[in-house]
Subunit: 393 residues, 2 copies
């Protein structure tokens, strides 16, 4: 069988191999990106679901429109305006099948094979692989503690003649957990305007700040209509329901609708209505506040464990102010070898290679997740990492 | 804004304009493709949903695997084998976000821009537009009462040097409502093998036979592993939940998984589990039997009305043995003009132009749907069509 050029070049994700071992219940996984399931408001969702089945089965189970359930779109536009300063005028809100679909459709409507997508390095593997399936060339910009290196971005914008899309996770970045400063956000936006590139601002973790000050989204200063903003309910309600959304400049949004229509027609309407009912009936902010408290405490648990079990001279770690990931560099360790050695010791982590534009380049970084594992497993898992690094196991 | 070459060429669907008027409650719509909402088993679905929320919230709301919920995949593979003779060996069953995603992902993994997709003419507009978004060239094969013209198919296979995909809806075809004979299915399969083309067999209506004899699927004689079979729960449970599936040769299925991973990660896991629970707890065949009875009766209603209100010499109509559509040719009428005149008279139909590979070619055909409108509206709508054709309104 001869496959399309775009798909032929894409290998199954490098971390699939790691995720395969996660079926083993004796493995402590710090590898995933799952929210803590105790944060799913199942009882409240069940209440809204019951009402939908009873009172509006013909609406909640019938075909819907591609753009999304109108009342939910309105609620989302209001929330994005109030919480994230995203203007309604000139932008269209669409409900999508998870945040991933926002990445997919934006790439589909903007990128030809051979176009360049500029991204943070490291970045979210699901986005990088998506860009690869459209034949895009990836150009990574080195990350710093306060976001990407702006000079390197400008160099890239000068050099890449076919740069089409700038993919960013400015807040609690995956995999690093770091946040781009306001100053850099403004510089990045100005460069995007100057060089005529569209920004895809991916913000799945933006509601999960547990320390420090809120920083405005890049989309909030998008006077030129060049930013597609992508959000999701995956980390604040449930990832399994696959409800995400975009706020996109009207002209881009029209094309996203054309692309979505032939991809999945529309997003599961029952859960669009359920989320809408949830937002109307319950206090989402109160719910999010409880998630923030939990993740603050779990983040403290993992940073304390890292600092306790691993000598300071052996590693560097990021200092997340929110989100679900922390990034570590273990000096002198090859992350690929390290992650294999740790799996043998029943701890799963993701080597940084997975998040790089060149998957074959060696790195000393690994990503750890603290939202999903229990406090006990965080402590035990990090202890095992420390014992390996200290040569005591 | 400069969009990708593939998307730039795609116009918003011609029938979107018609669907816009459907918000008007005084319009009788024979234009849609919706199932009758009274067929949604909402009470039973509610029972399964309640159990899921109560007993397995952390499973039903958490991230799932891209391939789909394992027990549902198993149930689907069994059902496809028993009902449709589709062998499990050599094939992989995947759960998808509606049947449309099967069309989308299959095209993505197989077709380069400039490749030809051969299809029935007329065919499903959602598929044709999907092929267009991958830059595919469309080649239509004229339809007859027992499926496409096989000689024209062989000519096309000889002429189209880059023919990559053969898209077929062999059973209760959209828009015509006709079914491909067993003899033609075998001929078409043999030609596909001979010319090395992959068949995409789309079967969203296959469970809805209300007269005549069952005919085996093309996939049931796929000894060479060249058929991707696409099914859906849209017409037998609910379209709003967006649960479809494919049975694809293993090698193709692997690539479909790679493509799906970066498109929407996985299909709504809650409804995958709900459908699985429904299949376990209730008798789907009994439920389908009730839908068949209803659609048989509604189909009789529309054929009786057509034969009653429109003189035989003025039109031809297909004779569906299942499904939800009937196709009519009104001699001497331009379908585009006719559909506009009918909207003025508060009846919506879809002109055949929408289903042709060349959307600008004039046609005398229109598609009528009988699953969604009430008996009363079917009668009233067809009466109005008759009055217009007879010049009495």
């Amino acid at each position: 069988m001869i496959f399309s050029d775009n798909i032929s070049g894409v290998k199954p994700s490098a971390i699939r191999e790691i995720f395969k071992v996660l079926g083993d219940p004796t493995i402590i996984s710090l590898a995933g990106g799952n929210p803590d399931p105790t944060t799913f408001p199942a009882d409240k969702m069940a209440t809204v679901a019951e009402e939908l089945f009873a009172k509006n089965p013909s609406g909640s189970l019938q075909y819907g429109v591609t753009e999304g359930y109108a009342p939910l779109r309105e609620q989302l536009a209001n929330r994005m305006e109030q919480r994230f300063g995203i203007k309604r005028e000139g932008n269209t809100t669409l409900v999508l099948t998870g945040g991933q679909q926002g990445i997919d459709l934006t790439t589909k409507v903007l990128c030809n094979p051979g176009d360049t997508v500029i991204c943070e390095e490291p970045s979210f593997i699901g986005a990088l692989n998506c860009f690869r399936t459209y034949g895009a060339k990836l150009r990574g910009i080195p990350m710093e503690d306060d976001g990407l290196n702006v000079e390197a971005l400008e160099t890239a914008l000068k050099e890449e003649k076919r740069a089409k899309l700038l993919y960013l996770i400015p807040t609690f970045q995956n995999p690093m957990g770091v946040t781009m400063s306001l100053e850099k956000r403004k510089q990045v936006y100005a460069l995007a305007v100057k060089y005529g590139i569209t920004i895809l601002e991916d913000n799945p973790y933006g509601e999960l700040r547990f320390s420090g000050e809120e920083i405005p989204t890049i989309k909030s200063f998008d006077t030129e209509g060049i930013v597609v903003y992508c959000g999701s309910f995956s980390k604040i309600l449930s990832p399994g329901i696959r409800i995400g959304f975009v706020s996109a400049p009207d002209e881009i949004a029209q094309k996203l609708v054309v692309a979505k229509q032939v991809t999945d027609v529309h997003t599961n309407i029952f859960f669009q209505m359920l989320v809408s009912g949830f937002l109307e009936k319950y206090d989402l902010d109160e719910h999010i506040e409880s998630i923030r408290k939990l993740y603050k405490s779990k983040c403290e648990c993992i940073t304390n464990a890292l600092d306790k079990y691993i000598p300071a001279e052996k590693f560097w770690r990021s200092s997340p102010e929110g989100g679900i990931f922390i990034y570590c560099r273990f000096f002198g360790e090859d992350a690929g070898v390290l992650s294999k050695k740790l799996v043998e010791r029943k701890v799963a982590v993701v080597p940084g290679t997975a998040f790089n534009t060149d998957e074959n380049a060696k790195t000393e970084y690994v990503r750890l997740n603290y939202s999903m594992p229990s406090y006990e497993n965080i402590e035990r898992g990090v202890k095992i990492i420390g014992e390996y690094l200290n040569g005591t196991n």
